[in-house]
């Protein structure tokens, strides 16, 4: 397939359209303004709907509504905007509504900075809103991966009747890279996907009080609320099989970098530099950050590995907490960090690995 040169934000939007997304509502925020801009132009071409909401809160609730109708729906934003959407995301999770959203994360906390960061890790993986719900969270490290993950995210969302998050950052969003775009779902396929949601979605039912669609982000009875939460918990536990990691030159490694997203690709290039210099470095990159690929850390040869180096664009470090759970104190964990909109430096990663090697 021919490769095309696309900006991350636009490539994600195109991937969503090709996956059958026919409703997008969003609100502008740097560095993801091209997502709504692209959908505004593209949706009319495929008989889809684009809405620029009056706010983030309005946009996520429009997605909640459209997805309740069985339509593949999406929103996107960047860090502070995602915080504003968190109420609606929690409602979607409570009502078990499949939808996809993307966070092109920037520096924080607060309004922070508009430059790229990875400071929304806990928010993305542990508490994207009230109530302790969880979502599958994918962390792309290239524009191609952002495309592939977005395309598949709608399938996971439909499979689980649950929101799915693409946790990207300002670099993935604003950079351009060659991509191969996935196949466009046909109108027939899209109609079939919607029809398959007929058992629960508001797709137009006969007048039948007992079997009507009833979308509710909560339960009147505490007993039922507990049941719903137990069902959700069973779903979250079933994701262990879906955890994905890239393990690169781990076998004989004396230092293993643990990272994800944009930091991980920079770390991977550092591994290549180190290997060329004869330093036995390796990389474990979390592809899904929820479910977290803890098992990848069980495959490390701890007799050889002197230390794990956590590389992330967040101060204080967040991803490292999941790395600790995976490593289970089998070797020391060091960190190489930056924050606030600064992009991870390969030189900094090289220096951190060398420091470990020198003991």
């Amino acid at each position: 397939m021919a490769r095309v040169f696309m900006k991350g934000t636009e490539a994600v939007a195109e991937a969503a359209v090709r996956a059958g997304c026919r409703f997008f509502a969003g609100y502008p925020i740097t560095p993801q303004n091209e997502v709504p801009e692209y959908f505004a132009r593209r949706m009319p071409e495929v008989d889809g709907v684009f809405v620029q909401g009056e706010s983030e809160v309005a946009s996520i609730n429009m997605v909640y509504g459209a997805a309740s109708m069985g339509v593949r729906s999406m929103t996107s934003s960047s860090s502070p905007g995602i915080s504003l959407k968190s109420e609606g995301i929690s409602y979607c999770a409570a009502a078990r509504i499949p939808m996809v959203y993307a966070n092109f994360a920037r520096g924080g906390p607060g309004v922070g900075s508009i430059q790229p960061a990875q400071q929304d890790y806990f928010q993305a993986t542990k508490a994207s809103g009230n109530g302790g719900f969880q979502m599958m969270v994918f962390a792309p490290s290239t524009v191609q991966e952002a495309v592939d993950m977005t395309y598949r995210a709608f399938d996971y969302a439909d499979r689980d009747r649950n929101p799915v998050l693409i946790l990207a950052d300002g670099v993935i969003g604003t950079m351009m890279e060659p991509v191969e775009l996935p196949e466009m779902k046909s109108d027939e396929e899209i109609a079939a996907m919607k029809a398959a949601k007929g058992s629960w979605a508001c797709v137009g039912h006969e007048l039948d009080y007992a079997h009507r669609s009833w979308i509710q982000p909560g339960q009147w009875s505490t007993a039922r609320m507990q049941e719903v939460n137990e069902e959700a918990d069973a779903l979250y536990r079933s994701w262990e099989k879906d955890a994905q990691a890239e393990e690169y030159m781990v076998g004989d490694a004396e230092v293993i970098i643990a990272s994800y997203g944009i930091s991980a690709r920079i770390a991977k290039s550092a591994v290549n530099v180190l290997r060329a210099q004869g330093v036995k470095a390796g990389l474990i990159r979390a592809v899904t950050v929820n479910p977290f690929p803890y098992k990848a850390f069980d495959r490390i040869n701890y007799d050889k590995c002197k230390a794990i180096l956590d590389v992330e664009m967040s101060i204080p470090a967040q991803f490292v907490e999941d790395v600790k759970v995976g490593v289970k104190e089998r070797c020391p964990i060091k960190t190489c960090l930056c924050s606030g909109g600064n992009i991870m430096s390969r030189e900094a990663v090289l220096a951190a690995v060398k420091k470990i090697m020198e003991g």
Binding site: T30, P31, G170, M176, R265, S269, R346
Partner: protein
């Protein structure tokens, strides 16, 4: 083999477009990996603007490297800001119509091109970036000039009136770049 390029100048000089033309042409014509990464923020005409292009045979790590192999400087402030990032033995391409400062570093190659004056002589200051792109491609031969021109032609296909001037600009740049090899 990996080349890290930074293009920097005033907003309005077309530095983003120059980087995009080069990166897009690389994507279209080769199997090489390529990234284009713009500085972003409160960019405006007359403010500073810069972008980074990485062209590589292998997977690219940071789209914004720590050290630049090549640096294109369109104005004075960009020289001061980015010259320290140029590697030893790297190549500095200067818009010598505007940047008249002495180059403090003696460990880099300098390619001077008066692109603002040349563009004005051709009748439009706007083509200075295309002249500089010609200079860069002519000097470095990083990719085939023919495919760069095809990309420009494609990008400007909705404005065919602009093609002759841009072709003249690109060819002038190429000639200038090659002559300084």
């Amino acid at each position: 083999m990996e080349t890290n390029l930074c293009v920097a100048g005033f907003g309005g000089q077309g530095v983003m477009t120059m980087g995009k033309f080069l990166a897009d042409a690389t994507c279209n014509s080769t199997d090489k990996k390529v990234t284009f990464f713009p500085s972003y923020g409160a960019e405006q005409r007359g403010g500073t603007a810069n972008c980074f292009v990485v062209i590589s045979d292998d997977d690219i790590g940071a789209p914004l490297g720590d050290v630049m192999d090549d640096l294109v400087v369109m104005n004075g402030p960009s020289l001061a800001k980015f010259l320290p990032t140029l590697k030893e033995g790297g190549t500095l391409f200067i818009n010598s119509s505007i940047v008249s400062d002495d180059i403090a570093r003696k460990d880099v190659k300098v390619v001077k091109a008066p692109v603002t004056e040349l563009a004005l002589e051709m009748g439009s200051a706007k083509v200075l970036n295309v002249i500089m792109l010609g200079v860069y491609v002519g000097y470095t031969e990083v990719i085939d000039p023919a495919v760069v021109w095809e990309t420009i032609e494609h990008k400007l296909s909705s404005k065919p009136k602009l093609l002759p001037l841009n072709k003249q600009a690109f060819e002038k740049g190429l000639e200038l770049g090659k002559s300084q090899r």
